[in-house]
């Protein structure tokens, strides 16, 4: 029986009160409640405060480069599609540096779970605006305030027919856990944008700011209605919906590849004698 003890890792180096703590706690509890053992899945992370998460728990880990989690995760899934892959990253890593990979991964519908700790700021480099920073926020390098339009990950997801797109909030861990479980059990590319206060560098989007705005999606909301989902995805400001914004049941990239229909590449034996046939092709 897997317990929380199995998921104990290094002591986190995050700031006290950081929104990453409740996300880490939710993550560990979800894995235990789903009965998944640390060696049975792989976490891919990039660079940023969120990306340190796998070191603070136990799992197969590829902690790669800033912005490059998705291609690494794609490579892992194509080599071994029986290995669940969860990506832990931040708004700067995934929406900024890795933007092209995000679009490609949604289009491919590679079956990985992407958890974006979205604190609307760069924490590791000490407070520069990220793609999701609100317009007008003043930072050290933007003394006149941010003038670039705020990036909307949910709208992008609906536009690209992303298989599963949800928004969670670090201050509502029970709800977040249910989203994580749903994403892990969903067959297809799954994005959870997790609203996460940065207690040190984001003085605008605080716990209170989020608490005043977030609400659970209505029980009659249908995430499989793409047009309604697009309207819902555009909702931001006075009220911010959390929950599954959009979902579809497109076939995954992995299941459309005939080469791995039998078993994962990593478990396919190599037969050197077959090379003679390839030689013959040159005569």
């Amino acid at each position: 029986m897997v317990t929380l003890e199995n998921y104990k890792g290094q002591v986190p180096a995050w700031c006290p009160g950081c929104g990453n703590f409740p996300i880490l706690k939710s993550f560990k509890e979800v894995m235990v409640e789903l009965g998944i053992e640390p060696h049975q899945f792989t976490v891919v992370s990039g660079i940023g405060q969120a990306a340190k998460l796998p070191h603070y728990t136990k799992c197969n880990t590829f902690n790669g480069l800033h912005g490059r989690t998705l291609p690494v995760a794609t490579g892992i899934r194509l080599a071994n599609h029986e290995m669940p892959v969860i990506i832990v990253t931040g708004d700067g890593d995934c929406y900024g540096e890795g933007g092209n990979h995000l679009m490609a991964a949604m289009r491919r519908n590679i079956n990985v779970k992407l958890f974006v700790h979205d604190n609307q700021i760069y924490g590791l480099t000490k407070g520069q605006p990220s793609p999701t920073t609100g317009e007008g926020m003043v930072t050290k390098n933007m003394p006149f305030g941010v003038i670039t339009e705020q990036f909307n990950p949910m709208a992008l997801a609906v536009a690209l027919d992303c298989s599963f797109a949800a928004r969670g909030f670090a201050g509502d861990p029970d709800h977040l856990k249910s989203l994580m479980k749903e994403a892990i059990n969903h067959k297809g590319f799954s994005l959870i944008d997790i609203l996460q206060p940065c207690v040190t560098y984001n003085k605008v989007n605080t716990y209170d700011w989020y608490r005043q705005r977030v609400y659970h999606l209505e029980s009659d909301y249908d995430p499989e209605d793409r047009k309604a989902a697009f309207s819902k995805a555009l909702e931001w400001g006075k009220r911010i919906p959390i929950g599954v914004i959009y979902r579809n049941h497109r076939p995954t990239f992995e299941e459309r590849l005939p080469m791995i229909a039998g078993k994962p590449l990593v478990h396919q034996a190599f037969d050197l004698t077959k090379i003679q046939t390839a030689f013959k092709g040159f005569y």
Binding site: P38, P54, F62, N63, G75, F270
Partner: protein, 576 residues
Amino acid sequence: MDYTIKIGGEAGQGIQTIGDTLARVFSRTGCYVFSHQDYESRIRGGHNFYQIRLSDKPLSASKDSVDIIVALDRDSVTHHERELKEHGRIIYDSSALRLKYDKPSFLDIPFADLAVQSGGDRIMVNTAATGAVLGMLGMELSHFLDIIGETFRKKGDEVVLANKNVALAGYEHAVKNCTRCSFSVIAGAASKPKMLIGGVEAIGLGAVASGCKFYSAYPMTPSTGIMNYLAAKEKEYGIVVEQAEDEIAAINMTVGASFAGVRSMTGTSGGGFALMVEGLSLAAMTETPVVIAVGQRPGPATGFPTRTEQGELQFLISAGHGEFPRIIFAPGTPRQAFSLTNRAFDLAEKYQIPVFILFDTYLADSQWTLDGLDASRVLYMDYRLRGDAFKQVADYKRHAFTESGISILGVPGDAEHLVVTDSDEHDEEGHIVEDAATRVKMVQKRLDKKLPLIKREIASPFVYGDHKPAVIITGWGSTYGVMKEAVDELSKSRSIAMLHYSELFPFPHTERFDYVRFLQNAKQTICIENNATGQFSRLMRAETGYAFTTHIHKFDGRPFTVETLVGEINGHLGKL
């Protein structure tokens, strides 16, 4: 017997179809073949050519002088008529070129009319032209008819039959009308069909033979052929080929797949490799094996997209932030491309490092005949810890400190042991650290301990020609063939040898073969490179202190031919 045939025309006219078919007919007849192409970066129009040389003796380069020109456009005549040998002939269709040439070297063959009159279609002009060339050479038509059957089988019997009739019409027309043709093709002694293979296919074939299971790339000339070759073999050999959204994704996917437990490779050109540099460093830090094929073309920036250069050697040596070991191979022939790709996989897995296959457009696009490849000489050893073997290990640390610096790669998920790695500096388990002592030990593990072992794997350069030469010509990569033929030519009157490097980095030891002394003992040493700055000669000087007496650099985007290289060498030697 040593004939050269040149097919010239606009892009889209089917030059490559005629060239590939003729080369295949010659190799099946048992002749030795060397072919190369020259094309513009466009899909239609412009002027392109395909050049094939055939002989009863082994060939390794192209010549400037031509025996038969198949002119599909007027430019083929204006650009190449001067290359024609004394008894050479130009065949063309005056109705297509809308011009009649009255010189005796020209032979007007109505390809289009022949195609239509023999029951075919105007689009079969290339079949008629191919048939005509075979008629002029006095060869049999049977191999060509077989190839037509294989090529058009899927299009149905009617298309096959029509093409065969058109081939025969072109052939007979040439036999009847080419009265001044004195060509006579004789195959080699045994006349066994030969293997005909190009550089990029040889790299692709080498990857398949090495158990490569994952290839990700973004299309870029001249490396795209590797992706195309592997994609055609995907199902038969269980290979996943994925076209990435960009080169950054391509190398990161390759690293991911390798981490997950399969042999993985990517390929690109200089510009695409510039984007991969960050990922190269990632592979090094995480000690994840990757094979990277880099096809050189003239730069900077987009340069000459479809032409050739040896301009990325210094780039590859120093690419990537941080300090880490790497291996660079630069094959000179398709046979070397095959075997060095195989060694690249073996060494990447053995030492958990990035290994490069550095080639160029010239090698990529030139085809050679081989007497065959030997599967029994292919290296394959699985260095990874999998399944039960991984389960039986008591304790596992991905980056454990060892005597050799090599910590065994475990396949994640195969056992309860966790496989952890990090682009940050990490401890033996793979977790992020900040302390100086671990840092020092990790650098020693990744670099200092592995490097001497890696250096020992690198073979000595290849010597051809005189063993006590007065003159040594030196080069690397794709100039192998042309240098070899230049030595054959020049050794008739001089004491000369060639020194060729296909294993470039780490630079070969001098213990097994003291090539520095070998060079010092010659009167004149010429370093030949297809670039402007002499990147190899700088490497030689940096690694050994040896400076060549003379340099020949060519950076017009075109490869060396035998005559031009011999002329250049003679020019330098004349000055002595």
